[in-house]
């Protein structure tokens, strides 16, 4: 089947929803499609809790927000993009307000702000502890008011069609029927989110498998800075890494090792449990590596002890964390400590775009976590991801609309369509083989966790790269058991695993090549930042033999790199 739209947005997280609204608003005659492998509001963005950063009042300045961001990024962020970015957020916050977002308020009725780690003033706007959830729903509801937007829910994108360096459309499986649908379009916006599921232990949703990133990569767009993966110090251990928010430590929770020691006094004697995320994450992992973690069916952990706070305080101040521990892990923090260890949280890298969300391919835009503008550089500040989705989602939507007004309708040839049918249904679904995709995923997760985790080191990474390449080979031989067409999640999982293998290779080799420690990329064999050789972005290009690497200078406008100290 074939459908036609002027603009196709892939992904319905904050970035995708915002882009679709922007495009539809720009010109009501443009027909916009928004495609997602889940129902639109079931995207990953609903998980975000903490908040979103913006300069909203006179007491704060754009330059301080920009500086905090650049410093947080360990100077790898492109400063022109950051300066543009911070100026655009406030309007987005006010727009969301007038679209119905239930922002938390101060007593006078104004939008309230609080402070998150790494910021020099309280500039985080929030909607209780469900910020991402409320923004997503608000955008979704706003989107419903545009008659020129068509929703394609539960369509799994399998290919991005690019010819002559120009985008032509996408191919997607309509899950309900199992049919391939080809979307011909003038412009395509990728907003498919991060790739946290490369790792088994992650705070990301099951759907965060980097699909769009891999599709762009295969279509010839370079991937930027993929080696930078952010870890959050406290993921709930029995629940595969569900986020346990910093609020626990903020309220006075202790981190304890197996010997009952508050080990943070060794790593950050002053700030203790409240030291920056990367320091706490490394401290926890050191304890585990040195054998002072607890063991469990779910792997090693340290204890986040709240019991000394007392039942009343926990129930009053941390009710949601208590509820989460009980529901997701069967542990009541009033009675026993919460088992935690660092969890994969965010991908700083992604599809290479310029500071206006444009990729090197004509008509192809990328925004949100799947893109790398880059404003996060080597390390993202809490609360900047949602803001990025809004700002660059909007920019992508507007530019795509402008572009589409003057562009020719993309055409997907019959030949391509047949090839894609064959690739999915004959070569993947129809084929027999002796590998289980899930076994491959399991081994991939283990490899990533063994060699590309918080501490990295040359020899290990080399082994990891080999293993990933072996897995890629084995993947060619997978067999999908479910041969039916309708709602074949066996098939889509297998395709996702294919995407992940490609990305894993880029992360792995990129990390191996970067011989320094910067932001979230920490190497035991190169523990120092090296601005002389490595103040540059990694770019990975697809070739059938594996990624080819290139580098690109960082854009520096105002702030020369200095030592990053908090």
């Amino acid at each position: 089947m074939k459908v036609y739209h002027d603009i196709v947005v892939v992904g319905s997280g904050l970035a995708g929803l915002r882009a679709a609204i922007a495009a539809a608003e720009k010109n009501r005659n443009l027909s916009v499609a928004i495609v997602s492998k889940t129902y639109l509001i079931r995207c990953h963005s609903v998980c975000a809790e903490g908040g979103i950063n913006t300069v909203l009042r006179e007491t704060d300045e754009f330059d301080t927000h920009a500086w905090d961001t650049v410093k947080g990024s360990d100077f790898l962020a492109d400063q022109d993009a950051v300066e543009f970015f911070v100026r655009e957020v406030p309007t987005e916050i006010l727009r969301l307000n007038s679209w119905g977002c239930p922002w938390s308020r101060d007593d006078s009725g104004k939008i309230a702000q609080r402070i998150l780690g790494g910021h020099s003033s309280g500039r985080t706007v929030f909607a209780a502890d469900r910020t991402g959830f409320h923004i997503t729903h608000t955008l979704y509801e706003r989107l419903l008011t545009y008659p020129n937007v068509d929703k394609y829910e539960e369509y799994f994108v399998t290919n991005l069609v690019v010819e002559d360096d120009t985008v032509k459309g996408i191919a997607a499986i309509e899950l309900k029927t199992g049919e391939l649908v080809f979307f011909e379009a003038k412009a395509v916006i990728l907003a498919t989110g991060g790739a946290g599921r490369l790792y088994g232990f992650t705070s990301c949703s099951h759907i965060v498998t980097g699909d769009g990133t891999a599709l762009a990569y295969r279509a010839g767009v370079p991937l930027k800075d993929m080696e930078f993966v952010q870890f959050h110090p406290t993921g709930l251990v029995p629940a595969g890494g569900v986020l346990i928010s910093e609020a626990c430590r903020g309220e006075g929770g202790y981190l304890l090792n197996k010997n009952g020691e508050r080990f943070m006094e060794k790593y950050a004697p002053e700030k203790m449990e409240l030291a920056p995320r990367d320091i706490v994450a490394r401290a926890i992992w050191t304890e585990i590596l040195e054998g002072r973690g607890f063991d469990s069916d779910y792997g090693p952990y340290v204890a986040l002890d709240l019991t000394h706070l007392g039942e009343d305080r926990i129930k009053e101040r941390l009710p949601l964390i208590r509820e989460a521990s009980i529901k997701f892990a069967g542990i009541d923090p009033v009675e026993e400590p919460i088992p935690v260890r660092p969890t994969v949280h965010y991908f700083m890298g992604g599809i290479h775009t310029n500071s206006r969300s444009e990729t090197p391919i004509k008509g192809l835009y990328a925004a949100g976590e799947c893109a790398c503008v880059s404003i996060h550089g080597a390390n993202r500040l809490g609360g900047n991801a949602l803001a990025e989705c809004l700002v660059f989602g909007r920019v992508a939507g507007e530019l795509a609309a402008e572009y589409a007004l003057n562009a020719k309708q993309g055409k997907i040839s019959a030949e391509f369509r047949q090839k894609e049918e064959k690739r999915i249904f004959d070569d993947l679904l129809g084929k027999s083989g002796d590998e289980s995709p899930y076994q491959i995923k399991k081994e991939l997760n283990e490899t990533m966790e063994n060699y590309f985790w918080i501490f990295r080191e040359g020899d290990g990474m080399l082994k990891g790269v080999k293993k990933i390449q072996e897995l890629k080979e084995r993947y060619k031989n997978v067999e999908i058991n479910d041969k039916s067409r309708d709602f074949n999640t066996d098939l889509t999982s297998a395709i996702e695993i294919g995407y992940m293998l490609d990305l894993a290779e880029v992360v792995a080799i990129g990390a191996l090549k970067r011989q320094e420690s910067r932001g979230a990329h920490y190497r035991l064999d190169y523990p120092k930042r090296d601005d002389e050789n490595w103040l540059k972005h990694t770019l990975a290009y697809y070739t059938p033999e594996g990624p080819k690497f290139d580098y690109k200078p960082v854009s520096i406008t105002k702030w020369e790199p200095v030592e990053r100290k908090y």
């Binding site: 938390s104 006078s108 008011t145 949703s205 997701f328 995709p437």
Partner: protein, 236 residues
């Protein structure tokens, strides 16, 4: 070992299938389903995403009650766990049900702020006190999981019934101090398939995993709708 009895459907016939899952402390029903999919039968189909109770994908009937699979601990359920798709929705495959209609109904109630001064380009800061926020905040917590709809007796017999979740959304906006669209929504709510079809069975509030109290929202919406209709009838 815990026995999982799963109600399956392959598009033509529906049947029960049992699996033995090594359950350990901390395991959720969703993890058990993944365990089954990845180790025993990869054709098992179910929806899931966030696995932290916020995306609304994984509502299903677990031991006869609709719950979020990702929020339900296996060991609290005994030695056999029965898993079925939600009632009142058409089954597509295994635990996956048709939600298009559910979202259509949501859309039908105009779930967005309606304001005459809507200004995309230059929005101004609309104020709202914490008290005004509390008037409707609890109703914003709905994750659209459909659990309420699956137990509502009115929805069981009337396909077109708007249902508790959509009407909760309608009321959520009517009660928002920034909104000016009450009239429009009351009219939609008072359609024959709207508020009048609710008879306060209240089961919706009993099963809602997010404690949204949809029954309360529907009741408030009905009262406001009825009085607004009567007022306009009497020309007040």
């Amino acid at each position: 070992m815990v026995e999982f009895k799963i109600r399956r459907y392959d598009g033509e016939k529906s049947y029960w299938q049992s699996f033995e899952v090594p359950a350990k402390r901390g395991m959720t029903v969703l993890e058990a389903l993944y365990y089954i999919k990845e180790n025993y039968d990869s054709s098992l189909a179910f929806r899931a995403s966030c696995r932290m109770g916020i995306c609304g994908s994984c509502a299903m009937k677990i031991n006869d009650k609709p719950r979020l699979a990702c929020e339900t601990q296996v060991l609290t359920l005994g030695n056999t766990v029965k898993v079925e798709p939600l009632d009142n929705f058409k089954v597509i495959k295994d635990l996956i049900t048709e939600f298009d209609g559910f979202f259509e109904k949501l859309k039908a109630v105009k779930p967005h702020l309606i304001r005459k001064d809507d200004n995309y380009a230059e929005p101004k800061e609309l104020l709202q006190t914490p008290e005004e926020l509390n008037e409707y905040y609890v109703f914003t917590l709905c994750i659209k999981c459909g659990a309420c709809y699956s137990v509502c007796p009115a929805a069981a017999t009337l396909d077109e019934y708007l249902g508790p979740a959509a009407m909760t959304a309608a009321y959520r906006f009517c009660a928002d101090s920034r909104d000016e669209g009450q009239k429009e929504r009351y009219e939609i709510a008072s359609s024959p398939n709207g508020v009048w079809r609710c008879h306060l069975a209240m089961e919706c509030s009993e099963v809602c995993p997010k404690n949204v109290e949809p029954a309360k929202a529907v009741q408030l919406l009905r009262r406001k709708t009825a009085f607004s209709m009567l007022k306009s009838l009497l020309g007040w």
